[in-house]
Amino acid sequence: MPIPSITGSAPSGVPKTSPKPHPILLLPAIALLALVLAACAPGNVIGVAEGWTPVTVADGVVYAGTRDGNVLALNAQELDKDERAAPLWEYKPREENRLGSIFGPPAVGETHVYLSSARTDEETGRLIALRRDRESNSQLQQDEWEKTIEGALVGGPVLTGGRLLVGSEDGRLYCFDAANGDRRWTYQTQGLLTSQGKERRIWSTPAIANGVAYFGAMDGYIYAVSVESGEEVWKFKTGGAIVTSPLVVGGAVVFGSFDRTFYALNASNAAVLWTYSSDGWWWAGPVSDGATVFVSDMGGEVVALPIDRRDGDPPLWTHEIGYIVNSTPALIDDKLVVAAKSGLVSILDVSTGTAEEVPLPLDKDIRASLASAGAGELARVYFGDVDGVVRSLDVDRWRVSWTVETRE
């Protein structure tokens, strides 16, 4: 690159440059300082993740993984009557057994509640099983079993036929005996070969159908693995990472990828049934009424895609939320409840996609999946936000029926 000459020419050998008035220089300096300070705004300094307060509802009890790394059981009906009702129980592990950040929803079985977590500072994951009594909704004092896993657990565990499956950041899908925590098998994913190593992380919660576990990974593959043996049934490569939890419906496994494409594959042989492209990543999981898949991309476009559609067919409808959507929506009473990251909660008619009510501006960052229960007057949607508050939404009256602060 040629460097211009800097020699020349003022009487004392000083080069001539255009003089500038002094005070004017203060303006850009002040603007620069303001910019630097703005750079330190909380939104730009992202610290250690603290979890998303995910919830699962079963038998009238809302189970929440808190931002403090505890597990809370809330009696939804009691809270409907009295917002100050005490939790049924709270599990607080000792410091050496701390759970860390909880992103994935708990899995609830007949006898146990299972929860996975990420200790991001140590890059390990924790999996715990808490015994519960369905009748009294009580919990034993100690956890039944617990495991520390190499690689953080971001996705939630899934329970099927006495087995517990969970994907880890070390690129393995783990299968445990749900009763005692004995490891049955592990499946090692392909991993994406990078310049120096392999990208292997699994953040997706597996979906189970007909004895096969389906899950996506950061390496861009969606995998189908036998629950019984841990052997690979098939794998399918997309053009981007997969963090979404797939759904199996009508013989198809549906999921979205960071290549901005939503896929429907034949669940038995991975043949592509159809695809749908959008402008944003797909992070939120899909939900379905059996005939149509409802899902939102991260750009906030909610789409209804019939299972039997063909490539190129337009969606049944689309609805623009206008904000980022991370959380899997909830389908309840022919209505679709969608929560945006900004805290705007919308309710849409599943057949037309039109908003049924004015969206609720909760002004809270919602990233965890929505959980739903009940019908008619008792239809409720439960969700937690990144500040650790769990909410119950009365779908019929379209208002928040109760909130519980889970942080200490």
Partner: protein
Amino acid sequence: MEYILANLFTDIWNQGILRPMINSLVFLYSVLFSNMGLSIIAFTIIIRILTTPLTLKQIRQMRAMTALQPRMQKIRDKYKGDSKKISSETMKMYREAGVNPVGCLGPLLIQFPIWIGLFQALIQTLPTNPDRLVALSEKLYSWVPNVHEAIPLSSDFLWLNLAEPDPTNIVMPLLVGGSTWVQQKMTSMPSADPRQQSTQSMMLWMMPIMLGLLSMTFPSGLALYWVVSNVVGVFTQYPITGWEPLFRKSTPAVQEDDDKDDEKDSQPEEEATDDRGSTDKSNNGKNRRRSNRGRNARARRRARRGRSRGH
């Protein structure tokens, strides 16, 4: 009002600096063999090219300021004790010479947002947890090809994880410190002002030590940026000054300028001869300085001898 202003500046920061940086890094990553190290190197070179006009301006201003040192000293001597007069005369001198005394700070100031922006961009483009990946999704342009598909990025480069500090804790800090010292030494100008001299020599050591220490705790990607930026700076400076400033001691050059100026007042430069009898006409500036230095040293020695005989 304060809230609106804070939001405005945060938006300007995000939209004007951070987002372009993140998208540039990810795009370069996607075209440079999915290698974040190469992406940072290319990014640094682009930034240095874009800031070249500012850098050249800084060099011009520094040289101009250096050339004015003797005149400044004279003003100080002439109006000793009258700081107001010194100040007004100095400003007058700057105006006449067309020098902006704080003009050389521009490129230095512009570096700060780049450092902070790159620091944030590295953390945000190499997400290690879901929160960071969500934050990254908000910052990617939908119209830039390949950026969405390129995520997640590999942060490995040589022995480094670019999102984490150098695991050896010594190699990158040494490279950062060493290259910063070399670049500063290359760009430093001799000064007649003892205070400026001491500031310069303090900065010559403080900055490398400070950046070296920061490299121990900051992501090694930022350390890589500093090293590459310094190396580019050194090679940009080379055609202007050569390697000479690297081996120059700070004090003689200062005195020599002063002496030269004094001599200029009493004797036209064209007629000056060195001890070997050759005229300065045939010499370049370097030789002239060397001969002046020799003459001045000899004059000082003669003066000392004279004083000691007197005693």
